[in-house]
C-alpha cells in the first residue's frame, strides 16, 4: 500500500515536472493547424523512400502517386489517426528490418508518430500535455544529450574527433574540416598543411599549435552549442536568439556530417517552434525534401 502510494506520488511528481518542462520549453504551444502541416511532412518523409525508391523524378509511378495522395488526404482529414497508424507501421517496419543498425532519427520519427497517434482530444487535463509540445521537448533532448555524449566519450575534450576526421580525410566530414582548416589557416597566415593519417598507426603527428587549437576550439564550440542552445530555449530572454542559432547550427551539422535526411526531420521539428508563416515554411521544406531526395 505504502509502495503503491509512493509510486503514485513519484508518478505525479514526474508528470508535474514534465508539464513544467513543457510549459517552459513551449510557451506558445503548437496550434492544430501547425500540427497538420507537421503530419503532412512526416507522411511525405516516411512514405516517399518506400513509394519512390529510385527517386521522386526517376519513378513517377501512377500507383505510388495515388497511394501518396490518398495518404495525404487522410492525414489532413478527420481520419488522420488511420493515416498516422499506417505511416507509423511503415516507420516501425523500417526500424525493425534494419535492427540493430537502425538509424537514430528513424527512431525519433517513430516516437513522434506514436505521440501524434496517442494524443488524447484536448481537455483541461491535457492542455499542456500535447503531442506537438512533447515532440519539441524531445528534439531539445536530442541536442542536449548529443552534447552530453561528446563530453562523456572523451573524443571532443582535446579536439581528437575532428582531428581524426580531418587527418584521415576519408569521409565527407574529414575533407570539409580539412578545407575549413586551410581556409582559417590562410586567414591567420599559418601553415595550411595537415599530415595525412589513415587508421591505424603510431607516430609523431606534425600538427601545428594553431592547428591543434583550431580542432580543440571547434570541438568545444560544438559541445557548448549542443548543451547551451537547447537550454537557452527555456528562458524568455534567450529563446528567440537560441532558436535562430539552432537553425544555423543544424544547417552546419548537415553540411559537415552530410546527414541531410536527419536535417529535414530536425528542421521540421524546429519549425514547430515558429508559430507563424507555417503555411509557407512547411510546403517549402517538403518541396526541398523532394527536390534534394536524400534517399535516392
Amino acid at each position: 500500500m505504502l509502495v503503491a502510494r509512493r509510486n503514485s506520488s513519484l508518478w505525479s511528481w514526474w508528470q508535474n515536472f514534465l508539464q513544467s518542462l513543457l510549459v517552459h520549453s513551449s510557451p506558445e504551444g503548437v496550434s492544430p493547424g501547425l500540427l497538420v502541416f507537421f503530419r503532412v511532412f512526416l507522411t511525405v518523409k516516411i512514405l516517399s523512400p518506400e513509394l519512390f525508391p529510385q527517386g521522386w523524378l526517376a519513378t513517377p509511378a501512377v500507383a505510388s502517386l495515388g497511394v501518396l495522395s490518398v495518404m495525404l488526404l487522410l492525414t489532413v482529414s478527420r481520419w488522420y489517426r488511420l493515416a498516422l497508424a499506417l505511416v507509423a507501421g511503415v516507420s516501425g517496419y523500417e526500424a525493425y528490418s534494419s535492427w540493430p543498425f537502425t538509424i537514430n532519427h528513424g527512431g525519433l520519427e517513430f516516437i513522434a508518430l506514436m505521440l501524434l497517434l496517442l494524443e488524447p482530444p484536448p481537455s483541461s487535463e491535457t492542455q499542456v500535455l500535447r503531442a506537438g509540445t512533447l515532440i519539441k521537448l524531445l528534439m531539445i533532448s536530442v541536442w542536449f544529450y548529443s552534447g552530453m555524449h561528446k563530453i562523456c566519450d572523451g573524443y571532443y575534450l582535446h579536439g581528437e574527433f575532428f582531428a581524426l576526421e580531418a587527418l584521415g580525410q576519408d569521409t565527407g566530414m574529414g575533407k570539409k574540416l580539412a578545407a575549413l582548416w586551410q581556409f582559417a589557416a590562410g586567414l591567420l597566415h599559418e601553415n595550411t598543411s595537415l599530415p595525412l593519417l589513415a587508421c591505424c598507426s603510431a607516430r609523431q603527428l606534425g600538427v601545428s599549435v594553431a592547428g591543434a587549437a583550431f580542432f580543440i576550439g571547434l570541438s568545444w564550440a560544438t559541445i557548448l552549442a549542443e548543451l547551451l542552445l537547447p537550454l537557452a530555449l527555456f528562458f524568455h530572454r534567450t529563446r528567440y536568439l537560441a532558436l535562430a542559432a539552432l537553425f544555423v547550427f543544424q544547417g552546419m551539422i548537415a553540411y559537415f556530417s552530410g546527414e541531410i535526411d536527419f536535417a529535414f526531420t530536425a528542421y521540421a521539428i524546429l519549425l514547430l517552434f515558429v508559430p507563424v508563416l507555417y503555411r509557407w515554411t512547411y510546403p517549402v521544406l517538403i518541396a526541398a525534401y523532394l527536390w534534394v531526395c536524400p534517399w535516392g
Binding site: 514526474w14 508528470q15 514534465l18 540493430p100 543498425f101 537502425t102 537514430n104 527512431g107 525519433l108 516516437i111 506514436m114 505521440l115 496517442l118 494524443e119 488524447p120 482530444p121 481537455s123 487535463e125 491535457t126 500535455l129 503531442a131 512533447l134 521537448l137 524531445l138 533532448s141 536530442v142 544529450y145 548529443s146 552530453m148 555524449h149 561528446k150 562523456c152 566519450d153 572523451g154 573524443y155 571532443y156 582535446h158 579536439g159 581528437e160 574527433f161 582531428a163 581524426l164 576526421e165 587527418l167 584521415g168 569521409t171 593519417l197 589513415a198 587508421c199 591505424c200 598507426s201 603510431a202 607516430r203 609523431q204 603527428l205 606534425g206 600538427v207 591543434a212 580543440i216 556530417s257
Partner: protein, 198 residues
C-alpha cells in the same frame, strides 16, 4: 459511456507520458550502458552519433595466428605481440577495413598474410559489423572460425585486436589502442585494453 470516454482519455494521456518519459530517460541510460557493455554510441537511439569515430572508419580488426609453442602456455604474450604489430603496421594503406591477418614467419617475426576475397560474403560482413559496433564475442568467434578455415589453420589459437586510432594533440602524437581477445579451443577470453602511447 461518459466515464469510459474519460478513462480512455486518461489512458491515452498516460501512454503519452510513458512514451515521452522513456524517450527522455533512455539517452542517459544508453550513455551508461554503452560504457558498461562496450557497444558503439552510434546505435540504439542514444543520440551519441559523432561523439566518437564511426567504428567502420576508425577501427581495424587484427588477428594473429599463434605458433603452437606460444598457444599452449596459458595467457599469451598479447602486449608483446601488440607492440610488435604496432611497429609492423607503419603503412596505413596496407591496412584492410576488413580483416588483417598476421602469422609468424620462419624467423618467428610476424608477417602480414593476404586474405583474398574474405569480406565479399554478406555473412562475413554481418559478423564484422556486429563485432565493430557491439564488440560481440559471438560474431567475433564466427569471424575467427571462418578465417581459420580459409587460411587452413584449423586447430590454431588466435589473438584478436580491435584496434582504434587515437591522437594526443597536446603531445602531437598518434597512437593506437586495442581491445585484446584470445581464442583457443575453449571459451574466448577478453584480455583487456592496451595502447602503444609513448
Amino acid at each position: 459511456m461518459g466515464l469510459r470516454w474519460r478513462r480512455s482519455k486518461q489512458a491515452q494521456a498516460k501512454a503519452l507520458v510513458v512514451i515521452a518519459s522513456w524517450a527522455l530517460w533512455w539517452p542517459p541510460l544508453h550513455l551508461i550502458a554503452a560504457k558498461c557493455w562496450g557497444f558503439s554510441t552510434w546505435r540504439f537511439f542514444g543520440w551519441g552519433m559523432y561523439a566518437n569515430p564511426d567504428p567502420e572508419s576508425q577501427t581495424r580488426l587484427r588477428l594473429v595466428i599463434l605458433p603452437a609453442t606460444i598457444a599452449g602456455e596459458g595467457k599469451p604474450p598479447y602486449q608483446q605481440l601488440f607492440s610488435e604489430l604496432s611497429k609492423l603496421s607503419t603503412k596505413p594503406e596496407d591496412e584492410s577495413w576488413c580483416v588483417n591477418l598476421f602469422v609468424p614467419g620462419p624467423s618467428g617475426a610476424l608477417q602480414r598474410q593476404e586474405v583474398a576475397n574474405f569480406c565479399q560474403s554478406p555473412e562475413i560482413n554481418r559478423h564484422l559489423d556486429y563485432t565493430l559496433h557491439f564488440s560481440s564475442q559471438k560474431h567475433l568467434r564466427s569471424l575467427v572460425d571462418a578465417i581459420k578455415k580459409q587460411s587452413e589453420q584449423h586447430g590454431a589459437s588466435v589473438l584478436v585486436y580491435l584496434t582504434h586510432q587515437r591522437l594526443d594533440l597536446g603531445r602531437n602524437i598518434a597512437y593506437t589502442e586495442s581491445e585484446a581477445y584470445f581464442f583457443d579451443q575453449q571459451r574466448p577470453r577478453y584480455l583487456g585494453r592496451i595502447n602503444d602511447e609513448p
